[in-house]
């Protein structure tokens, strides 16, 4: 009984170790989709709002679709951008929390 459980913990820890190794970068992509008049939605027609790529060293790239306003200036949709930035922050926070939880498994192995 104890040895099987120990094996499982060991294998979980090995998986976590792989995750930890694979955090070189993360990307957050926000899309939007139109709700039709009948309330139907086609997710395959979702359009990107923005994409942010964050590297381990802290550098990040952000791709933001812009549209040309009547005055000729390019502008982003403020509401969507706001949502996107919140998504990015949420993802950063979540990843930290999840990794911490996964590291608990490693800690349980005395690592």
């Amino acid at each position: 009984m104890a040895s099987d459980l120990e094996n499982s913990i060991r294998m979980a820890a090995e998986t976590v170790a792989k995750y930890v190794a694979d955090v070189a970068s993360m990307s957050v992509e926000t899309k939007y989709v139109q709700i039709g008049a009948n309330g139907d939605v086609d997710f395959s027609q979702a359009k990107p709002v923005a994409r942010t790529l964050i590297r381990l060293d802290g550098d990040s790239d952000e791709i933001i679709p812009l549209r040309q306003a009547e005055n000729g200036r390019f502008e982003a949709d403020a509401d969507l951008m706001d949502i996107h930035r919140r998504n990015v922050q949420t993802t950063i926070d979540y990843r930290a929390r999840l990794l911490d939880a996964l590291l608990d498994v490693l800690r349980s192995r005395g690592l």
């Binding site: 009984m1 104890a2 099987d4 459980l5 120990e6 094996n7 499982s8 913990i9 294998m11 979980a12 998986t15 976590v16 995750y19 694979d22 955090v23 070189a24 970068s25 993360m26 990307s27 957050v28 992509e29 926000t30 899309k31 939007y32 989709v33 139109q34 709700i35 309330g39 139907d40 939605v41 997710f43 979702a46 709002v49 964050i54 509401d79 969507l80 949502i83 996107h84 919140r86 998504n87 949420t90 993802t91 950063i92 926070d93 979540y94 990843r95 929390r97 999840l98 990794l99 911490d100 939880a101 996964l102 608990d104 498994v105 349980s108």
Partner: protein, 662 residues
Amino acid sequence: MTDEASLLKQTLTFNGINGATGGYLLDPLTPKEIAMIARGESFEKEHLRELRHRYLRAAQTHLGVKEGVDPKKIQETGWGVIFAFDDRERLPALKEALSELLNLRQEQAGDLYKEYIGVDAYRPEETKTAFLARHGMGPGPADPDKVPYYLMIVGDPETIPYRFQYQLDVQYAVGRIYFDSLEEYAQYARSVVEMERSQKRLPRQAVFFAVQNSDDPATQMSAKHLVQPLALEIAEDQKQNQWQVNSFLAEQATKATLGDLLGGEQTPALLFTASHGMGFPNGNELQLRHQGALLCQDWPGPVAWRQSISEDHYFSADDLSTDARLLGLIAFHFACYGAGTPRLDDFAHQAFREPVAIAPHAFIAPLTQKLLSHPKGGALAAIGHVERAWGYSFMWEKAGAQREVFRSSLKRLMEGHPVGSAVEYFNERYAELSTVLSSELEEIEFGKTPDELALAGMWTSNNDARSYVIVGDPAVRLPVSDEGHKNDGQQTDSAETERPTISTIVIHSEATVEAPLQPPPAQPDTSGEVISPAALDYGLTDSLRQARDRLTQSVSQFADKLGKTLEKAVDDAATLEVYTYVSDDMSQVSRDFASSAQLRAFTRIRVDGDTEVCIPERSREIDQQLWAIHLDMVQQAQTNRAEMIKAAASAATRLLEALKIV
């Protein structure tokens, strides 16, 4: 195996037979097991302090009462009667019924006579210390100027607990009476007064009655190691005082003989019996009538008799003849419950920290009660056990010391001491053993290797010494003819040829003693059926084993599932998905959300942080409300995922640690 090792493993059988099953009240235990229980022993601090003080004092002083007071002289020792505050309504009737005795004692004790009634009475749940403190007395030897040395408790052991009696008895000479009717109180009082005032004397006869049931180590032990040597020693010792000592042992110790000794032709002045005491399951219909009855030689023994005990085998209160001539008798019974039964089992409490009810309420042994209150004149006192008798104490290497206590007490009694003074040796022995035992246990706690044989002997002896009580007035003494014995200054030299009696008392009074304690509805007596000796061995060992097996299986399955869950949780931590749907009619939403509701937003997050979020837009406007809902769900899902992985990892780790200890 060494001698000691084999001794530790020998099985010891104890006093007490279960009348309903025919089996022992206490299954045989090895000294090793007794030592284990002994290590669970506890002492109330203050009581222990007093015991130790008494023990240390014993070398230099006489017993019980303070220096300079002669315990044979009531005018020096004082005499008091303790009533319960809760009995105040019937107090006048009780006092009236006991008036002859109270008047006698008042004459004898003079200013040192005290009645503890009204505000001075025993208060509910009062400790000995509190009681004495209220009356200006602290721990230490009795000071009759403050509290008389001889104290008679009048009350049932639920109202004035046995514990109070034991503890008070350490330094005082305490007895108790409790009867069901005023007539019985009056008859007892008349019996005592008759023998003291009338100067009637009984022949100097003492009888030792020792049962030795077949295949029964307990009675073999008490007969061989206690009664036989004791009878010889007493006979030798009291030859000079013209005591005639007879013994009825083994085949002679029948119920018929005992009947003869308890009210029949051969009733002596002093009777010492050693036998099993009868016990019955809590609430059994015979318990309140027959518990403490004396099992005689008529019982064929545990091998030949494997069913409930027949009443033909034991002598109970029901067997006392209406013509019994008991006046002046003092009886000493070595038997379980011979003097009474507490409500809770003291020894199980020590072992298991569990108060176990063994009776619907505490009570005095009915045989003893009837001996004292017989309408033709009752016994003056009976000494016996409340709770179990621990016969193993006589087999202990220091058995000589234990038997010496009996010898000394009987000697004192036979030489004219009041019974309360005579049994001070038991109190001293109790104090000694408690002190030694508590010290031994303390040393064991600090690392000493326990001597289990000695521990078992000490513990059983201590328990045995503790639980003797006097039923009756502790100031009574053997009313025997004695040329050298002075009875309050008077001398007589003739013994009655025929045992005196008293006339039956009828009380014409509106006040009545309350009906005897009504026990709660009896617990279903499930042990009345015949149980084979093999079945008697069935018990918690099997039950605990079953519990452990069940738990082991359950935990094993859990560990297996937990392990797999943790592995999968970590694998699946790769991706977290959150979907938000809406529906016009929630009642139509089935288990498959996708087919019964409309998807409006989703978020997919990978462990590496890669995230896709799809938000709904209605008429080129973000559906803020829906988005807010979805965001909320995403945050909760993230928190939940992290928490569950942490919790699962922690559960797995800690379970593993616990399992490794198993």
